[in-house]
């Protein structure tokens, strides 16, 4: 199996993250190799009877300054790339339900143990979210019970869905495709199966999809409504009949009482 250091970038921010990770990977590897070679060299067997020359150490100030320069350089690079990866990309397409110039707002609610997605037009879905390609999506992470970890490496990386707070993540998927992830914060017995699927489709397909989704939900809701009304009507009829019977029983009671 081939080890890949980074997930394939599906969003502009992740590309920057991947670049930073490559830089850090090389720096960290270099640090580990240098330090451990020095340790090996210091630990190597050697002639124990030769008194070492107690040479002068390089000044501590110089070493500190060198380390500080290294740390500042690392912080600068990390800040530049972190800023870039956190930048909200601008949409190249527009879809229905999106305020012009603003990202498309979708609410992702973590629940034990699945995710629910609310689209702007009132449609909703569980487990799988469908988003349009080329449109910046603002996924507002919320939770109804415990803390859940939103985690789709190719698009957004990780972010917590915390009850009582909204944690937005932004991404713009440029290519249609399917991205999967799995929750990353222990949330109980269904944690291991709490999977996420982000399906990226063309904007027109997205519009058709959520319209159909809304229609399906509406028709299902209509069906429930109709059944509810029908059963309520029956209940009213039944209640009326019941009252009639009750009245009859009462009259019988009164009659029998009278006859005594």
């Amino acid at each position: 199996m081939a080890l890949s250091l980074n997930p394939d970038a599906g969003s502009p921010g992740i590309e920057k993250t991947n670049t930073l990770h490559w830089i850090l990977f090389i720096v960290i590897l270099a640090v580990i190799v240098v330090v451990n070679l020095a340790i090996l060299r210091a630990a190597r067997p050697r002639d124990r009877h030769v008194q070492p020359k107690a040479g002068r150490r390089p000044s501590q100030v110089k070493i500190t300054a060198g380390l500080a320069v290294f740390a500042i350089a690392l912080f600068t690079v990390a800040t530049i790339f972190s800023d870039q990866s956190r930048e909200v990309p601008s949409s190249t397409e527009t879809v229905a339900g999106q305020v012009k110039g603003e990202p498309l707002q979708i609410e992702a609610t973590g629940q034990q143990w699945l995710w629910r997605f609310n689209y702007p037009n009132g449609a909703f879905s569980y487990r799988r979210v469908v988003v349009p390609a080329g449109v910046t999506v603002q996924l507002n992470l919320v939770s109804t019970d415990v803390i859940h970890g939103w985690n789709v490496p190719e698009l957004t990386g990780k972010a917590q869905a915390v009850p009582g707070e909204t944690n937005p993540v932004f991404f713009r998927a440029d290519e249609p495709g399917v991205y999967t992830g799995r929750s990353s914060v222990l949330s109980g017995q269904g944690y291991d199966t709490m999977e996420i699927e982000v399906k990226v489709v063309e904007p027109t397909e997205y519009e058709a999809y959520i319209a159909e989704l809304k229609q399906d939900i509406q028709s299902a809701q209509d069906k429930v409504e109709a059944e509810f009304k029908k059963s309520k009507q029956e209940a009213t009829i039944g209640a009326a009949e019941g009252k009639k019977m009750e009245a009859e029983i009462n009259t019988v009671d009164i009659e029998s009482a009278d006859s005594e």
């Binding site: 921010g13 640090v31 070493i63 690392l74 990386g157 917590q160 990353s184």
Partner: protein
Amino acid sequence: MSRTTSYPQTMPPTRPEVSSEGPSSRPARWIELATSADHKDIGRILMAASFGSLFLAALELLIMRLQLAVPENVFLKGVTFDRMLSLYGETGIFLVALPLVIGLLYYVVPLQIGSRGTALPRVGQIGLWLFILAGFLLYGSLLFTPPEAGINPLPPFSDATFTPNNGVDVWITSAGMAVLGLVMISIDLLTTLHNLRAPGMAWRRAPLFTWAGAIVTWLLAVIGPIFLAAITMLMIDRLYGGGYFAGDEGGSPILWQHFSNIFFTGVYMIISVTFLAAIGEIVQTFTGRQLPRKAFIWSMVAIAILGTLAWTQNMMTAPLPSGWKYFAMLISISLIVPFGLIFYNLISTLGSSDFNMRAPLRFAFGALSLASIGLAAEIAQSTIAVATQLSETYDAWAATHFAMIGFVVFGGFAAITYWYPKITGRQLNEDRARISFQIMFLGTIVAVLPLFAAGVEGQVTDSYRYFAGEGFDTYNLIAAIGTVILFVGIVLAVGNLVKSKSEEPASTPDPYRADSLEWLALSPPPAHNFDVLPDVRSTRPMRDIREAINRRDAEASETAGAPQPVA
């Protein structure tokens, strides 16, 4: 030079209340140990508890890794895995790392500063018994409901609504008692450090490990109460319907993450400072050279303060104002300077010196090597962008484990093998120590290195299984094999500590010709530590004492031929 002075068998009649029959018979050894308020007894019990718990933690880790060895394994149920995970986390932090740190410091530091005891011995004794009760409570819960809400039980998941059983209450109570006990012991040590130093033992002459003791006890006095307050709030939330960590009642679940991460990050720094200082002492003793004191001490202070301030480094995925994330990134990356300086000084001193490779030094090399891998890997965890990818995966787990196994296990064995002759009065078996070191080192590398790969591939932690086809199989299988090796190594190393105590020859008080004062006391030291308190004149009091003895012997041999003065 005869010490067999004969005392009168009966007391003079002026003190009629004094019995002339001699002292009453001593109680059994274990009763003496259990009722002792002596810092050496308490320190030994803490260290013994720590190494016993290390065995338990290694066993729990082994069980978890065996469950994860193959995908979709059915060896453990989900809830059993969660319980193992929670037990492992609490054991590792509260029953292995912290008591080892506090036990070592509490044993060694009063000796190093030339004190005849501690300032508040009963406070230390209460602390010890709180700690021991905590351990029994945690493992007693195996008979009922062990904790199951993870290594860090995040509310609302750990609230009564979502984890209604008593497991989290056990976690709260035992962690609280352990921390309270260890804080009490460290307050005793802190008071001793400030009040009971030997004449001449100014702070500028105090050994590195004593400085670590001061830094650690101060830091624990800050972060311990924060943790105790947090778990009290969690307990009020759970038992009395409080709303500290409930998002819909004016509290916030993020608060708990702040409190707990202040504590856990502080503990990370406490561990780093203590074992770096212990390794510093070992390096100074075996090379016979002094490390640059000022740089070393200021680096330890910087690690303790900066490291603890960087707690939001663990909260990169939480909804925080982004300023705090940049602050955490700045502070954690700035830790490169103090850690780098200490590593540089230790390794360059070793590299340019002559020394005999003995067990303490061997473990110290192992600790430096493993901790360097873990600390370097933490750099990636502390940058905002990469942390959103790597946190909560096995990459983070591997980084933490390299640093913590490096410092606590290898640093711990380095320290315990270094002070072993002092603590037990026996030498340590070098061959067994070497073999157990090699097995442990190999085991750690094989057990933890592949998890970096599993982490960058995206395997999340805390899940009791993963699925075939996700690409994690090979890494987890290798890690399981490595954990078996690590477990064997730990059992052998702990076994060597137990076995050497009864089998090996007795040790002299100063087997390494070291510089600090604990080597002046007998091995093991008597209850009052020192018969004579030295007058400290430099940072290397034992060298001064050895020189004084040599001088006196030389003078004695010069005057050997001269006629003795008539007594």
